[in-house]
Symmetry: C2
Subunit: 316 residues, 2 copies
């Protein structure tokens, strides 16, 4: 795989000539399908998770969505805070761009009561921010094992309790919490909720419009019975995120996600299952990857749109 | 973490002086417990998986076990083949060292019938080798997704069928097959059986003395409900292997296992569950890690023995 990237074909340039043919990032391979133009109905549910273009500010990400014709965005709290919540909400409303998710709250696993209260308070603020942005959901990353703590069962129990403690405020603010099960590669240091089955078990006591789950292909593709769990999740899917499992795994595990189509995940079966479960929302492209981050944001968006209409959208 | 290593304290050297105190590898930290001497009853079930001392030949590994007082070894087929099966069997018998496992057969997931037959034939040979070595089990590594294949359900079904096809020959030769569920980090490229629950489901149609499972702490520590699955595995545990999940994850995922005590796994609860399930066999230390492999084998054995008597053996 080369790191070569070239500017995408400008609008109006005849396609097909080797020189002007767009190139996918970060693979450096020629694009397999034409880039969908803004207004293309196939883009009607495609959302850009801001983390996919990590070097862009919120303003740049909004402008990138407008230029590429993406109707939705998943925002992160830090870049929103940089410009101020009110400004961010106004920019998004003015642009007519939906907020498919706010990333992220959670990190529930501390065993220290004072730290637990601080986390809870911050999570309440995240709920308020999500309400202010009229976002479809607030993504909850459970958190890993506390330093030196090897008791994963207790950490999981604390996460479950801390989620329950957020439910009243989320309900009052009309915010949907979205528990994100995370690939077991992150069980120690990021997310002790490791399977969709486990996440759904946690949601069960709560109304589905207040507590749902994130189905992220990177995290759940390997799970035995995942298609049955997605069916079980009918009415609970608060966010559907797509990105790829690639091998060899990049050296930094946190940045090991790939562009759809560059790896091992069957987006057809997962997407069909999510559609069959009645998920009506946006589909976020969320990729943490150093090579993706090094590429120009406009090319990342163009490649994401192409791979999405090739691999994901036909199965919705 | 430093890579500093020093020769362990020679037998008879007074312990306690800072200069002569043994140092753990690869952490470079002072040993927390004295090195158990050969003959120490706490070592009665400790086995060295050969891969832990990857630079050693079979002869060196046998001699290392004798010197350190380990009564068992898990051997790999390639180094056995290097000296010849008959020679290996004689060396092991002469040394009075048990063979706790033969690693490894499997790689069942090809969709190509000719390749499938070649794999099957090789797996039959592995069964014969296991019988010849009078080993406690033959470890089955399921294999990953074939090149370009994204259908993990079908790959899992092929693995299940291929295991069933080995059962008659294993039964005839008195060999116990041990299905190794592998951490989902390896689902794409090494092992499509991802949980202990899934492995146990595969064993169910077969007698427990012919088809069992490997419980490897690295692979299963994160699994929701793992303690219940270990209880369910009573009579099916063919091998218990210990090594550690460390963070940050080393750059090469295949070499990401750590020395017990250097990471996040609770060996107490897992070992207690394995003991409560009635597992009567040896406990293998199996560590794939570049720093461990770079350390002198004798120090790896000494550290393994210390960490084992500190963290694992008290819970048997």
């Amino acid at each position: 795989m080369t790191a070569t990237t070239r500017a995408g074909t400008p609008a109006g340039t005849p396609a097909g000539s080797p020189v002007d043919r767009p190139v996918d990032v970060p693979s450096g391979e020629p694009a397999r399908v034409p880039t969908p133009e803004p207004g293309d109905q196939r883009l009607a549910r495609l959302s850009l998770n801001q983390k996919t273009v990590d070097r862009w500010s919120l303003r740049e990400a909004i402008d990138g969505c407008l230029e590429r014709g993406l109707p939705a965005i998943g925002v992160w709290r830090e870049p929103v805070a940089e410009v101020g919540l009110g400004t961010a909400a106004r920019w998004l409303a003015d642009a007519g761009i939906r907020v498919s998710s706010v990333c992220r709250a959670g990190f529930f696993t501390t065993a220290d009561p004072a730290e637990g209260r601080r986390r809870h308070d911050d999570n309440l603020r995240a709920i308020d921010e999500t309400a202010e942005l009229t976002a479809a959901c607030l993504v909850l990353v459970p958190g890993g094992l506390p330093e030196g703590d090897r008791d994963i069962s207790s950490a999981r129990a604390r996460a479950t309790d801390a989620i329950a403690a957020l439910v009243p405020h989320a309900r009052d603010r009309g915010v949907r919490l979205a528990i994100e099960p995370m690939h077991p590669i992150f069980a120690a240091d990021r997310g002790v909720v490791s399977t969709l089955e486990q996440a759904l078990d946690i949601t069960e006591p709560f109304p589905s419009d207040v507590v749902g789950v994130v189905v992220d292909t990177f995290h759940v593709w390997w799970e035995p019975g995942v298609l049955q769990q997605i069916a079980r999740a009918a009415g609970r899917i608060a966010s559907y995120q797509v990105c790829e499992w690639i091998t060899p795994l990049p050296a930094d595990a946190l940045l090991s996600r790939g562009m759809m189509g560059d790896g091992h995940i069957d987006f057809a079966s997962l997407t069909s299952a999510v559609a069959a479960a009645g998920y009506p929302g946006d589909i976020e492209v969320e990729i943490f990857n150093a090579e993706v981050w090094a590429a120009p944001g406009s090319e990342v968006l163009a490649t994401s749109a192409r791979r999405y209409v090739e691999l994901v959208q036909p199965h919705l």
